[in-house]
Homo-oligomer: 253 residues x 2
């Protein structure tokens, strides 16, 4: 049996941000499985089967991929960004752990990619240049109390904070709630970035402060980065400022 | 004046993990500047000048790059991994902020890459599948007290923790100190990973627990990942276990 399963991350959107290793795995696959937005970004290969699904059935999708791999197919599970950061890799491993025992002995690999926060940070400058944390604001799979506890810890640590799943149609108010909590612990002038469609030709940056952040709208494609106390702007003529977090803590605003 | 400066991340080591966007920026540059280990990984281009330096002079190197760009050259500052994560981007912005005022109006871009923790995580499975934080253990640019405070917050939040600069010849004992601190707040059976040379053909994974971790040696090329309480192993026949952190917090070991 020559079946295999590769969980790939195609990066944030622009084709030139997909690694050659991922492109090779995609070209070699007999079957692609993933959310249709990501599948549609993959160049077509004659004879390759494409199993596009909606965004809500990760573990089912993972089981389907494992079943096909166990039948001898070369399956690529397609994530945006990096598959290990709020994407399909964990879902596949959940499916393996709770699934058929022979699945764990399949040839299974994860191919890393450029995750959204890195593209968003690069677009703005280097806001993740010091220590930072990465939190999904979705409470579909964890409690809001856990998210609050993590935001508090992040503020205590003075981490820069990259927020994934900052807002969706089903959760329009939690981002403002998160800003409200952070405002109890962080200075009102803390830098906040909204980067929409980072790593694509449509990327758009909005720079604001924690005091003003709640009045700005985010959607599913928006990465939100909340600065550390040292995160700062470098003003420019005729261009938005650079935003960066110095490596040293000996900076004051 | 057509000078420009692009700060690129060539990824963790394997050429097939360098994005096409970064390869294009490198091929287009008249001048490469960076730590020689990274410069040596870049394919040679006829006529291109290579300014290789040692690992200790980031801001000087950044000033040199800015000076060349201001003279009209197309300069690529070369980082390993992603330039925005404990690499050259923050150093360049520090140099811009404290340097010549015309530097801020140069054409300056950051090209993201696959940072080491993503390659290390992919090699092991998906240990960063939940919320996580990213800490440099080096106290060259911040105090050890700050590092302790951040480790404590990370434990309080039950983040998985990716440690950069976990050990070097000048700082051989701090990693064991960090494990000792974390052991006060996290369970002894917490999963700890050492991934050496992640994202290269020589990648090597060692899986252990927090109780045992201090007896294992790390070096400059080792990424250390300390699991969340939910991080778990999936045993396999004839292969190391998969290591992953489920997306949901409703897992117990």
């Amino acid at each position: 049996m020559s079946g295999k399963l590769t969980i790939v991350g195609i990066g944030p959107g622009a084709p030139e941000l997909t690694t050659p290793a991922v492109s090779a795995a995609l070209a070699d696959a007999t079957d692609l499985i993933g959310y249709e937005t990501y599948i549609n970004r993959v160049p077509e290969v004659a004879g390759q089967r494409r199993h596009a699904t909606d965004n809500r059935v990760e573990v089912e999708r993972a089981r389907h991929a494992l079943t096909l791999a166990a039948e001898g197919h070369r399956v690529a599970v397609v994530s945006g960004g990096d598959p290990g950061v709020f994407a399909m890799a964990a879902a596949v491993f959940e499916a393996i752990e709770s699934g058929e025992s022979h699945w764990r002995n399949l040839d299974i690999r994860v191919e890393p990619g450029v995750t959204a926060m890195l593209a968003a940070a690069a677009h703005a400058g280097a806001p993740l240049g010091g220590d930072f944390c990465t939190i999904s604001l979705s409470d579909n799979l964890k409690s809001w109390a856990t998210i609050e506890r993590r935001l508090h810890a992040a503020a205590t640590a003075d981490f820069a904070i990259a927020l994934y799943n900052a807002a969706s149609r089903a959760r329009p108010h939690q981002l403002a709630q998160a800003f409200g909590l952070l405002a109890q612990w962080k200075a009102p002038e803390t830098v906040v970035l909204f980067v929409r469609a980072a790593g694509t030709a449509d990327a758009k940056l909005h720079i604001t402060t924690l005091a003003e952040a709640a009045s700005y709208a985010a959607d599913m494609r928006t990465m939100v980065i909340i600065g550390a106390s040292t995160t700062r702007l470098i003003a420019r003529e005729n261009a938005p400022p650079f935003v960066y977090t110095p490596r040293s803590e000996d900076y004051s605003r």
